[in-house]
């Protein structure tokens, strides 16, 4: 792994690689290379990019949801999910982009292809409301678990406030992890957190 980085594929070669999967260049990215694929081909495309001998995009850097609701003259589906990729072997980068219709806001999860996708997809669900099908634990990440709505959607008001009171016991996640590690849970676990604040007295209404 300590070998110097090798020159990567040019944009044309990467496009040719993805062409059989219906990948087309997104002209909005005039600085790097962004390729649009259908969501049905997303997992296929990512597998090809990750395992292809001269591609080796072995790092998924982020999962970025975009809401185009108020983008001027936008005619495509409302949402998009971008997957910036890079390689630790070759000097090339690529962003894969999937467009998502508003009435079916779902994308297949890729948590099994890239470990980094697990939490990144949770953040994307939390912030933009994209549903990642097949995700093992699609919980909110940055926002409180009682939060309603998705703040990075353009129709979420910037100044909106929500009252959130009960913290996440997380016992469900811990139990699931223990089971995954081969433990057999014999007794229903007791939540050590997650008690509603009302047990410590009523929540005071704040005047704003």
């Amino acid at each position: 792994m300590s070998a110097p980085i090798k020159p990567g594929l040019a944009a044309d070669a990467l496009l040719a690689l993805l062409a059989p999967l219906g990948g087309v260049r997104d002209e909005a990215d005039r600085w790097g290379l962004t390729v649009r694929v259908d969501r049905e081909r997303l997992r296929q495309a990512l597998t090809l990019l990750r395992d292809g001998a001269d591609a080796r995009f072995d790092q998924l850097l982020d999962v970025c949801g975009i809401d185009y609701l108020s983008y001027p003259d936008w005619r495509d589906p409302r949402f998009a999910v971008s997957y910036p990729l890079k390689s630790t072997v070759f000097r090339h980068r690529l962003t894969l982009k999937v467009l998502v219709e508003e009435d079916d806001v779902a994308v297949p999860s890729v948590h099994d292809l890239y470990a980094s996708a697990n939490w990144a997809e949770r953040e994307c669900w939390d912030q933009v409301g994209i549903v990642f099908q097949g995700h093992p634990n699609l919980k909110r990440l940055l926002n409180h678990h009682e939060f309603v709505g998705h703040p990075l959607r353009k129709d979420y008001p910037c100044q909106k406030r929500q009252k959130l009171s009960v913290n996440d016991p997380m016992i469900d996640q811990l139990t699931a992890k223990l089971i995954a590690l081969g433990y057999q849970v014999l007794e229903a676990p007791v939540a050590t957190a997650g008690l509603p604040l009302t047990t410590h007295g009523p929540i005071k209404e704040t005047v704003s």
Binding site: M1, S2, A3, P4, I5, D26, A28, D29, R30, W31, G32, T34, D58, Q59, L60, L61, D62, C64, I66, D67, Y71, P72, S82, P84, T88, T95, Y114, A115, S116, N118, W119, A120, E123, R140, L141, L142, N143, H144, P151, L152, Y156, C158, D168, M170, I171, Q173, L174, K177, L178, L181, G182, Y183, Q184, V185, L186, E187, A188, P189, T192, A193
Partner: protein
């Protein structure tokens, strides 16, 4: 909670919250762990306690107004965030920065990297009980903050760059002070290395603790010193050079096993490499213009504004409306102290960013952290957390 272990033994696991307000989390991070005696059977992590809605807030203002927000990402090296965002925005404009601006940014980047590593390692050693090192590291760090203060008026939240240049030029004597502080930091590093490098207690507490192998680190999306500690020699300054990094003489530092010891040592030796870059950059710092001459970005001189109608309009539009990158979207990144700091910017051609997605380097490290804890001792929870350098400001945004 009563469980049957994989080997058939029935035990009562104790569930415990470590954080969000715990001295060793250095911020607001929560680990919820099930303990078998002193061993962590399993752990899960939670984040978001410092979530301020960075990405929503920056959509409400202009591009230049994003800069003060970027200060609050990794607050241990604010200037790197300033420069990272400006570099991404400048790439959209397609402007070339003047030589002096680029060299000055390299000095600020590397000094920021040095103080970031000082904080990370200093605090990590405190978590292991080695308080002395903390004082050895915080005095030189304080001297760097004095330079920051003289440079831009702020210690922590610097907002030192502007899209297309810098806030202002350096003060007289800046170069000498930088060279002096670099020596002080190097001396402190040597002293601390002398205290820990062959220290039996330190080695026992960090060797083979919190280990992450190369394949795991790559798949988890790790970058920066943590990835290099796992033996993967990847550094954006070498692999995709920007700001002329390919012309500086420095080495990347890599580890072998990816344990806490390697991560501490990679940072230690990176401080020395950064010192080499700072010395070379200071020698290259020549007088010249600081801001690019592009009218879309830089204000015209006052003299022009008072005597030329076009310049007056230009100045007015830049101040009242701000800069307008061409429509489109792009991902750009720099090698920050923690790893790859990326910005995905979507522009609709207007004065406000349509969407900015920050790719904070410690996000992927924190996501992988709970799994690293499986089977380790409770006392190692703190030491391995310190070594992956989670900064809640950039983690939660």
């Amino acid at each position: 909670m009563r469980v049957k272990k994989p080997d058939g033994e029935i035990v009562d696991l104790m569930t415990i919250n470590i954080g969000p307000s715990h001295p060793a989390t250095h911020g607001t991070l929560r680990v919820f762990a099930a303990l078998d005696g002193e061993t962590v059977a399993a752990a899960v992590g939670e984040m978001g306690y410092l979530h301020r809605g960075f990405e929503k807030m920056v959509e409400q203002g202009t591009y230049q107004m994003v800069l003060p927000f970027t200060d609050r990402l990794n607050y241990c090296s604010s200037m790197m965030n300033n420069i990272g965002f400006c570099k991404a925005a400048e790439r959209m404009f397609g402007v070339e920065l003047p030589e002096r601006c680029v060299t000055l940014r390299v000095i600020l980047l590397e000094l920021s990297r040095m103080i970031d590593h000082l904080v990370c390692n200093g605090a990590n050693l405190v978590d292991l009980g080695a308080l002395t090192n903390f004082w050895y590291f915080f005095n030189p760090r304080e001297q760097v903050y004095t330079i920051w203060e003289r440079l831009c008026g702020a210690r922590l939240t610097n907002t030192v760059t502007r899209i297309g240049g810098m806030y202002r030029d350096v003060y007289p004597g800046f170069e000498q002070e930088v060279l002096a502080v670099v020596t002080v930091i190097e001396d402190a590093t040597t002293e601390v290395l002398g205290l820990i490098e062959r220290n039996r207690i330190f080695i026992d507490r960090t060797r083979n603790v919190g280990t992450m192998d190369a394949a795991g680190a790559i798949s988890a999306g790790w970058t920066g010193p943590c990835l290099r500690a796992s033996g993967v020699d990847r550094d954006l300054r070498k692999d995709e050079p920007y700001y002329g990094y390919e012309t500086y003489d420095f080495d990347t530092v890599i580890g072998t096993t990816g344990d806490t010891y390697d991560r501490v040592m990679v940072r230690m030796y990176e401080i020395r490499e950064s010192a080499k870059i700072v010395r070379q950059a200071v020698a290259r710092l020549k007088p010249g213009p600081l801001n690019c001459a592009d009218a879309r970005l830089s204000l015209p001189s006052r003299n022009q504004v008072y005597h030329d109608m076009e310049a007056l309009i230009n100045s007015f539009k830049l101040i009242y409306e701000g800069v307008r990158p061409p429509p489109g979207e792009m991902y750009d990144a720099i090698e920050a102290a923690n790893g790859e700091l990326g910005f995905l910017i979507v522009s609709d051609g207007g004065t406000n960013p349509y969407r900015i997605k920050v790719r904070p380097p410690c996000f992927t490290q924190w996501a992988a952290y709970p799994d690293m804890l499986t089977g380790s001792m409770v006392a190692d929870v703190a030491s391995s957390l310190g070594s992956i350098n989670i900064i809640a400001g950039e983690l939660d945004r």
